[in-house]
């Protein structure tokens, strides 16, 4: 595939039911009303020269290069700001226009360094193109007058640079930052000739500014003024491949722009339906980990975790692993074996791991990291609606009038979706935030939440029940929706329950600490403000009542009739890129793909026939139960693909004890992660750039992932699983992930219409894709719920058993930030550490002062489970009594302090509530020191040849 830039239509697409027909250079064209003349011309392949316009942002009309002549109109209007009208007759090329354009170009060029040949944007520069388009040959003004040449570039951002001398002050970057990203980091300072682009800080550099490094301005810039450093380093790309980001559940699609085997840059794909041409710092820039020196590319084995690793051939590693698994099975039975699938891997890879466990090992002991994040979503939405998935697509937010965000921090964790949400909020939609922290959304440029309910961590159910109380007792229920769409008996039970005076905001205020009046106002707004949409994250699920909270959210949406059309719905924001997919693929121990329970004989028969095996009809163990069983000696071997449970799961010491008790731990990953400290077999993994397959994002959108380079380890991950399966005698012969996808489609009704070829042709499909929805379903539950009638569930508030007391008076809650991803295995190995070199403990000034702690001090964070040390950040973002930290760095080991309390229905750990004490400290704890020792010891690799 050759390299072509993505088409730029000059001004954004307009959606309108009415069309307008006009003539451009003698050709007739019909476009939606409101379209610009420039875009209409581009639609028919025309190319009006332009500099200040791009279809990412609204037109501005400053460069005057795009002039056209319109019959019956005086002068030469700018085509980017002139809307089409019926019957308009436009000329884009006349001697008068040529002359005018050349004059404009001459002025631009006279203030621009003419080092095109050595410029990194050479042949990829719109100024150069425009000069050629207008036929500019010489510049009459010379270069002697005042100019901007020779100004030093700003290289502070690790990924892109700003060269002011190349800047033509078209303000495309400023508008991209405002309109696309919504950060408003850039301004044009000064006027006329003196005007320049500024990041608005005293240092006036990008790194110290508000900039979040999303790359939208770089994308918008027509010259090399804003340019990826990687292009400077590697040169201009020569081919591009469309693929999907492997970081978060937004699922942005990118063009991987390549030069040979070298990835030059990732550019957001304009046709991507999840991101619509936008990106965040992780997907756009943080891909360097693929070639990091820590990456392991040879398989390794060892008999015991006290020994150093021994590098071996693939054949030896696989036969060693299979041999140990078979021996353990022979001695202890199939239920002593299990596996963990990864939300970072493709649907196909995940499907194969659970197939290996169920069909090869012979047990249902398969689980996935969704256990620790969105398993309550599975339980809660399945119970109330009948399906475990978000109800909307991302576009839906454009139709919302009231947006309720609970337990989510989209600007950090789901930035590209957050930008779209912010755009809607700037247009006037109302915002309700329910979160113990004052997250950025509560107040950001041009956005202010109508209500922020800063609840006490652990009281979600109480707050939502109190909101329901207001809606029911004040007569705000959408009775028609409830009558037609829901089980009326269950509704009446629920309405009676929430109406009880004990659930009023006033009575619950001492528990929730949310002012009753504010809560009442928020409930009224949600019920009466038009289309109400709920977005939630792990602040909902990672609690002892995670599943109850998800059901309480579903109750609220049904009671207010906010289900089944664009603009409304219940939307879990997924953490990892393929959490949705991993769950869909049957990664939970109790269900096969498509969320069908393992006890269902009919479903089991379908798989048994296809796979030629007999399946266990009993549910298997969840991750935490596997660890318990390991300590008891009944669970002895595990195959872990692409997960680092030692770092990501709660109560690190218990995880370590469980892993240590096992006879065979097989880790399949890119790096020697923390879990690998306890492993006997290490199988090197491949990155998303090195494999084909599909990911499914938070909108249920299945998107292709494409191999742009060969796997450094020699195999794509599904091939490694296949090697292991075959060494255990399973005789698989998949030649390409498309064959695995065909098997998934054959066995999973919601995927029935999905094929690799179709995905490649249309870009993406949102499941269910079946006879009833041949092209997929952007919005679910339109005419009826998946389960038939919506089911209201009474959600009793049960306080967590993790209680504060004199020894542990503070509540710790955890989360993540924009520049890092989960345990940080990838992002810590990129320049993203420029923004977040270590985990910090956020603490309210009053709590800090009481303990004699200042900003930047080392502090000891202790819970009933364990303790760790980290630095303090004093901030009013957290309420008094609450502290907050991230878990991106292994040195911190925040999970040493988290407890083993978990959601009652799914055992999703209660990360969001731990009673702690904080005290000044002067160094790492014993556990941290011991662990650092172990970590070093167990990462030794012996390069001695094996005898």
């Amino acid at each position: 595939m050759g390299y072509a830039k993505q088409p730029d239509f000059g001004t954004p697409e307009v959606r309108s039911d009415r069309t307008v027909t006009l003539s451009i250079d003698g050709r007739e064209v019909t476009v939606p009303e409101g379209t610009s003349v420039m875009r209409a011309a581009a639609e028919i392949g025309g190319d009006i020269p332009k500099l200040c316009a791009t279809d990412m942002v609204k037109s501005f009309g400053s460069c005057r290069l795009c002039l056209v002549e319109v019959e019956g109109m005086r002068g030469t209007p700018a085509s980017c700001t002139t809307p089409v009208t019926e019957g308009m007759v436009v000329k884009t090329q006349t001697p008068r226009l040529e002359k005018l354009r050349r004059g404009v170009m001459e002025l631009y060029i006279s203030d621009h360094p003419l080092d095109c040949l050595t410029c990194s944007a050479n042949n990829d520069c719109e100024l150069q193109d425009a000069a050629a388009d207008v036929g500019l040959r010489d510049v009459r003004y010379g270069y002697d007058g005042a100019h901007h040449l020779g100004q030093a570039p700003d290289v502070s951002n690790p990924y892109f640079l700003f060269a002011p001398d190349k800047c033509i002050v078209c303000s495309r970057c400023v508008r991209a930052c405002d309109e696309v990203q919504g950060t408003l980091a850039l301004t044009v300072d000064g006027r006329g000739f003196a005007s320049k682009i500024s990041a608005g800080t005293t240092e006036d550099d990008f790194l110290s500014s508000e900039c979040v490094s999303c790359g939208a301005c770089v994308q918008a810039c027509p010259t090399s003024a804003l340019m990826e450093k990687s292009v400077k380093e590697h040169g201009k790309p020569e081919r591009s491949v469309v693929t999907t980001c492997a970081y978060c559940g937004v699922g942005c699609t990118f063009r991987a722009e390549m030069r040979g085997e070298q990835l030059v840059r990732m550019v957001p794909w304009k046709e991507g339906k999840a991101n619509r041409g936008h990106s965040c710092v992780k997907g756009r820039f943080a891909w360097g980990y693929a070639n990091h020196k820590d990456r392991i590319t040879s398989p390794m084995i060892r008999d015991s975790i006290d020994e150093p690793w021994r590098e071996v051939s693939w054949a030896e590693a696989i036969s060693y692993a299979a041999g140990r698994l078979k021996d353990i099975r022979a001695e202890h039975g199939a239920r002593a074996l299990g596996g963990i699938t990864s939300s970072r891997c493709t649907n196909e890879e995940t499907f194969l791991v659970q197939k290996l466990v169920r069909g090869g090992f012979g047990s249902n002991n398969v689980d996935t990291c969704a256990r620790v994040c969105h398993s309550p979503t599975g339980y809660g939405l399945k119970t109330t609606f009948g399906t475990s998935a978000g109800t909307q697509d991302f576009d839906s937010v454009e139709h919302s009038d009231v947006i309720l965000v609970i337990g989510a921090n989209p600007t950090d964790a789901h930035p590209v979706f957050a930008s779209r949400m912010k755009r809607r909020l700037r247009q006037g939609a109302k915002l309700i935030v329910i979160d113990p922290r004052r997250i950025d959304l509560v107040r950001s440029p041009h956005i202010e939440a109508a209500h922020h309910l800063p609840l006490q961590p652990g009281t979600n159910v109480a707050v939502l029940t109190a909101m329901a109380h207001v809606i029911v007792t004040e007569g705000l229920v959408d009775a028609k929706f409830v009558q037609e769409r829901c089980e009326v008996d269950a509704f009446e039970d629920w309405a009676r329950f929430v109406s009880d005076e004990s659930h009023s905001p006033e009575r619950l205020e001492p528990v929730t600490r949310v002012p009753a009046e504010e809560l009442r106002a928020a409930a009224r707004l949600f019920a009466t403000g038009g289309n109400g949409a709920i977005y939630y994250g792990l602040g909902v699920t990672e609690h002892s009542q995670g599943s109850s909270t998800v059901m309480a959210i579903a109750n609220l949406a049904m009671a207010t009739g906010n289900i089944g059309r664009p603009g409304v719905g219940v939307n879990p924001l997924r953490g990892q890129n393929n959490v949705q997919g991993a769950c869909d693929m049957g990664s939970f121990p109790h269900e096969l793909s498509g969320y069908r329970h393992i006890s269902d004989a009919e479903t089991r028969a379908l798989f048994e026939q296809d796979w030629g095996v007999t399946l266990d009809a009993e549910p298997g163990l969840r991750i935490n139960n596997m660890l318990d069983a390991a300590c008891d000696g009944t669970f002895r071997a595990i195959y872990i693909q692409g997960e680092d449970i030692l770092q990501s799961d709660p109560d690190t010491k218990h995880v370590a004890a469980g892993l240590e008790a096992m006879d065979c731990v097989i880790v399949h990953d890119l790096f020697l992660n923390e879990t690998a400290n306890y492993a006997h077999v290490f199988l090197p993994g491949s990155t998303f750039l090195e494999k084909d397959g599909t990911f499914t994002n938070a909108e249920r959108r299945i998107q292709p992932v494409r191999r742009v380079m060969d796997p450094a380890n020699g195999y794509e991950d599904w091939q490694v699983t296949q090697l292991l399966a075959n060494a255990m005698g399973l005789g698989w012969d998949y030649g390409h992930p498309s064959e695995i996808l065909a098997e998934i489609a054959r066995l999973t009704p919601t995927f029935a219409g999905v094929t690799w070829e179709r995905l490649c042709a249309v870009g993406s499909l949102q499941w269910p894709v079946n006879e009833a929805n041949p092209d997929g379903a952007p919005v679910m539950h339109i005419d009826g719920f998946v389960r038939g009638k919506g089911h209201f569930v009474v959600t009793e508030y049960v306080p967590t058993d993790e209680k504060t007391g004199p020894r542990f008076p503070l509540l710790l809650t955890t989360g993540r930030i924009l520049s890092h991803y989960n345990v940080g295995a990838q992002t810590r190995r990129t320049a993203n550490t420029a923004w977040h070199p270590e985990d910090l403990l956020e603490m309210h000034p009053v709590d800090a002062e009481n303990r004699g702690l200042k900003d930047g001090d080392w502090a000891r964070l202790a819970s009933r489970k364990g303790e760790t040390t980290l630095r303090v950040k004093v901030t009013e973002r957290v309420a008094p009594g609450v502290v907050y930290t991230t878990f991106h760095h292994p040195e911190t080991q925040a999970n040493v302090v988290t407890t083993d309390y978990s959601d009652w229905a799914t055992n999703c750990p209660e990360y969001k509530v731990t009673a702690v004490q904080v005290a000044p400290s002067n160094g790492p704890t014993d556990w941290q020191e011991d662990y650092a020792d172990l970590s070093e010891r167990s990462r030794r690799i012996s390069h001695e040849p094996a005898e």
Partner: protein, 92 residues
Amino acid sequence: MSNTHARLIYMANQIARNFSALDHEAAAMATADHIQQFWDPRMKAGISGDEPDLSPVAARAFVILRTEGEPPPQTRATVFNPVDEGGRSDAG
């Protein structure tokens, strides 16, 4: 008593507590159903039902599991939908 045993009792009690808005027998049925659907066999076998630490609802749930076989679904988490019926799907 092993740690795991204590943990299983805690889990059973926790499930029972979350059904406390139902009456005693219904809560016990729902608890039994939940355990039936989500617990691995060795976990189910790990509790006899006589443990003094079990709450009355949880204890009754184990009696149901032992004596009455598989309980009818209470939480609806296990109701399967007809595939592709009337614009819906089994969609998990």
